[in-house]
């Protein structure tokens, strides 16, 4: 058999390099965000030092929903006959696993911010509640993906289940928002959209936070995707090994 064409080999090398660059950039970005967030930016006049958590919590939430969007889109692309490809199924799974991590972190960071701010570890804020439900939806999706089966069977089943679940998220958000609005006293500020940011270093730090963690998401998802590729390869190779051994037996016996 001939070796793969140069184009393929150099293409894969280029991707590896790009990934390395991305990883370093993401790391630098996060480090800068942490440094700025913890040390350079001033404390808020209302929240004091607690505002520093707002350089981290909103980016977590943004990525959680970004990951969900990517997973949903990938599922849709997999189901659409003209764009059906294994890589979309893998992308959906990869994005979901990374997404569930960020969703969990959104809940935890929101909770940590909430405790000193409102005196409670949890409030039924529309965004936080929707995020909690999103977390469970992710877990269900990942559980379904782990059920063994033929690749394309598992892929299609997961894709359909993903869409059934993720179509639900806007409905959940709107319902919970309305539900909350019935009980919210007008003087209570919506905690997660509090706008007491002063322009300047705080705004830039927040922006840096969003960008850096998005890069982190992309890097993690790319590696998770690659892992899925290797695992699928391992499975098909296991099959090849079995077949080759069977053939060897048949020949020798």
């Amino acid at each position: 058999m001939s070796t793969p064409p140069r184009a393929v080999q150099s293409g894969r090398a280029a991707v590896a390099v790009a990934l390395r660059v991305l990883g370093v950039t993401a790391l630098v970005g996060v480090a800068a965000t942490v440094w700025l967030g913890l040390f350079v930016t001033p404390p808020d006049e209302f929240m004091g030092n607690l505002v520093r958590l707002l350089y981290v919590h909103p980016p977590m939430a943004w990525v959680a929903f970004l990951a969900y969007g990517v997973a949903s889109l990938a599922s849709l692309l997999y189901l659409w006959p003209r764009t059906r490809a294994e890589r979309f199924d893998r992308l959906a799974g990869a994005s979901a696993e990374v997404g569930v991590v960020f969703t969990g972190l959104t809940l935890v960071s929101g909770s940590i911010w909430g405790r000193p701010t409102w005196g409670a570890w949890w409030v039924w804020d529309p965004l936080l509640t929707t995020t909690a439900l999103l977390f469970v939806l992710y877990l269900g999706y990942l559980a379904l993906r782990r059920v063994p089966g033929e690749l394309h069977v598992r892929a299609r089943r997961s894709a359909i289940a993903a869409l059934i679940a993720f179509i639900d998220v806007p409905i959940v958000y709107l319902s919970v928002e309305w539900w909350r609005s019935l009980h919210q006293a007008p003087t209570v500020l919506n905690p997660t959209t509090q706008k007491t940011y002063v322009h300047g270093s705080m705004a830039w730090t927040l922006l840096l936070g969003f960008v850096s963690f998005t890069l982190v998401y992309i890097w993690l998802t790319a590696h998770r995707y690659r892992l899925a590729e290797l695992q699928d390869l391992e499975d098909t190779e296991g099959l090849d090994v079995a077949l080759a051994e069977r053939r060897a037996e048949a020949v020798a016996g």
Partner: protein, 222 residues
């Protein structure tokens, strides 16, 4: 499609009438849930009565899971999917039929639970139109989602644990809206339930539509 739906629904309901599993098992389960809620939240009716709507609908949600699992269990044991697939019936029809049968059983259950809630929690029933409307719209949505996920889980060994995990988060809006609608009705202000009923109807329509489209492909897999 509709003819197949009626066929399947009729079959499922006939099996229920003959075996009475819904009556003998799911019904008592729901009542047990109501009782346990009562025990958990204390004998004080001041606490239970306002919570009636929510507790009612949680009991309904849990019962839906059982009803759906039963709906697929009545197909031949582990070959449930194959039996349905090879029957030559229109998959969308099968979906509608099974979902309708589940919905019908749930509606009967809800009637009983309504009485239970009035008795056990001291809820004062009023705004009957809203109560019934919420039940119908909510149940349709629950049955649709349940039947959909039911077929996904039915062939799998992990079905008993997977179905609740998949089902419950997705129907959270139904729980929310139905409870709110019932709250308004029970509080004597049924007029304010309009928006919530809309949510229930939209949800039901959406997921029945999704079911009609997605059931076929899901049935083929596995």
């Amino acid at each position: 499609m509709l003819r197949d739906a009626v066929l399947v629904a009729g079959k499922d309901l006939r099996i229920e009438v003959r075996s009475r599993v819904g009556l003998n098992q799911i019904g008592p389960f729901a009542i047990a849930v109501l009782l346990l809620f009562g025990l958990a939240l204390g004998p004080d009716r001041q606490v239970l009565a306002p919570a009636s709507a929510g507790l009612f609908w949680v009991a309904v949600l849990l019962s839906t899971i059982l009803a759906v699992q039963r709906s697929y269990a009545i197909e031949s044991a582990d070959a449930a999917r194959d039996g349905l697939r090879l029957s030559g019936l229109d998959p969308a029809g099968i979906f509608l039929g099974k979902a309708s049968a589940v919905a019908a059983q749930l509606l009967v259950l809800e009637a009983a639970l309504t009485i239970g809630v009035a008795l056990l929690y001291g809820a004062r029933l009023s705004g009957a139109l809203v109560l019934v409307g919420a039940c119908v719209a909510g149940t349709l949505g629950l049955a649709a989602v349940g039947t959909l996920y039911g077929v996904v889980a039915s062939g799998l060994r992990v079905r008993e644990t997977l179905l609740p995990l998949l089902f419950l988060p997705v129907v959270a809006p139904v729980l929310l809206a139905a409870t709110k609608a019932w709250d308004e009705a029970l509080a004597g202000t049924p007029g304010r339930a309009g928006g919530w009923l809309d949510v229930l109807v939209v949800f039901a329509v959406l997921y029945v539509a999704i079911g009609i489209v997605a059931f076929g492909p899901l049935l083929e897999d596995g």
